[in-house]
């Protein structure tokens, strides 16, 4: 009895040892299964629930498009969705534009202690996100750093009120909070550029500007594209920043989604809004990648 058991086990073991994919899968499976259970199962439930409707304290589980119709019909949902996209679009553009020269500087003009500069640029990013957002409240507030110093210098008669609790405040805060996500990918793509290409361009008579537009910029585009997606995708769904510095005019879609699960208590609507947000983000990202690919191919 033990004999057959042992040989069976031995054979299984031999098969297990011999087959590389099987061993690989076995090793990968704990991670993969947990990620599948934690991502896919909730997502399926989310999709299902977005077609339900809320009846006071119970869900009506008959499938209907009620929530989606409401998202399309009610101006409030449309306004918040477009505003979220506009704010994080503006933030993405601002962050990339501000970070590019910084990354360029470290890639091309810093020759010693590059690592120190990279650490210096990413360090603030590791402090609490919540506290960094709160810090901007101190800076942009009615008696905040900007108003107080400008009034102290006599440049302002009375404090600027539009600084805090506005979409502008959200864009400024996000631009600061997500800087590292732009600097690092752009830096990596600039660092990868073969310096002999720049020498070649110079030898062939290109000036600094032409060389930048013709060689450096196109070759760094993968970094720019990665950076914009890394910033755009999460900031559309950001909750903390609009909640703390946005005010009523700067509220974004995540705030609206969160309310559906708290005060409003309409979970199916919250599910539908989350899904609508994700679909729009995915569509914009894919369109962006597609356009960027075509653009870079034409450039070559």
């Amino acid at each position: 009895m033990t004999q057959t058991h042992d040989t069976l086990r031995g054979r299984l073991y031999a098969f297990f040892l011999r087959s590389e994919p099987v061993r690989g899968f076995a090793l990968l499976s704990p991670t993969l299964l947990i990620m599948l259970a934690g991502m896919c199962v909730p997502f399926v439930i989310l999709v299902a629930m977005s077609f339900w409707t809320q009846h006071v304290f119970e869900f009506d589980t008959t499938l209907s498009l009620t929530n989606y119709n409401e998202i399309v019909d009610k101006p409030m949902y449309r306004v918040l969705l477009t505003r979220s996209l506009a704010i994080s679009g503006a933030c993405t553009v601002a962050t990339v534009l501000l970070a590019y020269p910084m990354a360029y500087y470290v890639a091309f003009h810093v020759h010693r202690h590059k690592m120190v500069w990279i650490v210096l640029m990413t360090l603030p990013f590791w402090s609490s996100y919540l506290l960094r957002v709160f810090a901007w409240k101190i800076i942009l507030g009615y008696n905040g750093a900007i108003n107080a110093s400008f009034m102290g210098l006599g440049w302002l008669e009375k404090p600027l009120e539009f600084l805090l609790y506005s979409p502008t405040a959200v864009v400024i805060t996000l631009t600061h909070a997500w800087a590292a996500f732009a600097i690092l990918p752009i830096y990596v793509s600039l660092e990868k550029i073969d310096r002999s290409l720049l020498e070649a361009a110079t030898d062939l008579g290109d000036g600094p500007v032409k060389r930048f537009i013709g060689v450096t910029l196109p070759l760094s585009l993968p970094g720019v594209i990665a950076a914009s997606l890394l910033i755009f995708i999460p900031t559309v769904g950001d909750f903390v920043t609009p909640a703390l510095v946005g005010g009523p005019d700067g509220a974004m879609i995540a705030n609206l989604i969160q309310v559906q699960f708290a005060r409003v208590n309409n979970w199916p609507m919250g599910a539908a809004l989350s899904l609508a947000m994700m679909v729009i983000i995915a569509a914009i990202s894919l369109l962006y990648i597609w356009t960027a690919r075509r653009f870079t191919e034409y450039g070559r």
Partner: protein, 274 residues
């Protein structure tokens, strides 16, 4: 040489811009320690007298201590679990030919490209369908999900970086798979494991939106701080704690970067050696 210096000649405006940008990154963060010593409950200028009152209050704040303890617990458990999953995953994808490897890695990396609110909402729906009560366990679960991709991304280069022949040599000399892992593989990837633990802990410790959706009656520290931000009188001790956290996280991060660099330099010199 002249061409290179032409391309890389010093650029004064860019130099100034770089320092300006670093100031833009740091000044807002430094406002918190500044105001944590300010003798006023309002975070506004002008600055009043110097005080350590807020730090004293912080040490007596029971609810804050509870929240801090919760965050430390969640962070510790989540970072260990995520790193273990990361070790399994990283070893599997670097050591074995697995069909469809790219799409499997994509599935594991998915939380990186999904907005936190969506993941939080989806997990909340699943937990409520399963009838699981929200608690620190559910928050930990959410954090394991978002930390695992980071653990994998940190560990994969470590596994790629060391010579597979070492493991084979160990097997040839008669060590079984388990002792090869403990005696050979783990020591060699250890800097990566420590870096992954620190990274995952930092992410979990700082994470807000998933914890906000999945927390029960025990708040984690970010949730607690968020609840305090509305009340001016309760804010200063929170900011005092925040200043300490910023300081500690800077120290920890520098340590982890040093560790990672140490690892990289060591493997680089390994490559140079004949």
């Amino acid at each position: 040489m002249s061409e290179i210096s032409y391309i890389q000649r010093p650029n004064r405006p860019l130099h100034v811009y770089a320092f300006g940008y670093i100031a833009f990154l740091y000044i807002p963060v430094l406002f918190l320690p500044l105001f944590s010593f300010n003798d006023s409950i309002y975070f506004a200028f002008p600055i009043e007298e110097f005080t350590t009152e807020w730090y004293r209050q912080m040490f007596e704040h029971q609810a804050m201590h509870a929240a801090l303890a919760n965050s430390l617990k969640v962070g510790a458990v989540a970072s260990v679990l995520a790193t273990v999953l990361g070790v399994f995953g990283a070893k599997a994808v670097t050591r074995y030919r697995i069909p469809g490897k790219k799409s499997l890695i994509f599935v594991i990396m998915l939380p990186l490209v999904v907005p936190g609110i969506l993941l939080g909402v989806a997990l909340l729906l699943m937990l409520s369908r399963l009838g699981i009560t929200l608690s620190l366990y559910t928050v930990t679960m959410g954090h394991v999900l978002i930390c695992t991709p980071f653990a994998m991304a940190t560990l994969i280069p470590r596994f790629e970086g060391f010579d597979r022949a070492m493991e084979e040599a160990s097997a040839d000399l008669g060590a079984n798979a388990w002792s090869t892992f403990w005696r050979v593989t783990l020591p060699m990837v250890l800097p990566g494991v420590v870096a992954s633990l620190l990274l995952c802990f930092t992410i979990s410790f700082d994470e807000f939106i998933i914890a906000f959706m999945l927390t029960g009656t025990d708040p984690t520290l970010p949730i607690f701080m968020y609840s305090q931000l509305r009340f001016p009188a309760r804010l200063p001790p929170t900011v005092a704690l925040g200043s300490i956290i910023i300081f500690v996280s800077f120290v920890v991060l520098c340590f982890s970067l040093w560790l990672r660099r140490y690892g990289v330099e060591e493997s680089a010199s390994d490559g140079v050696r004949p």
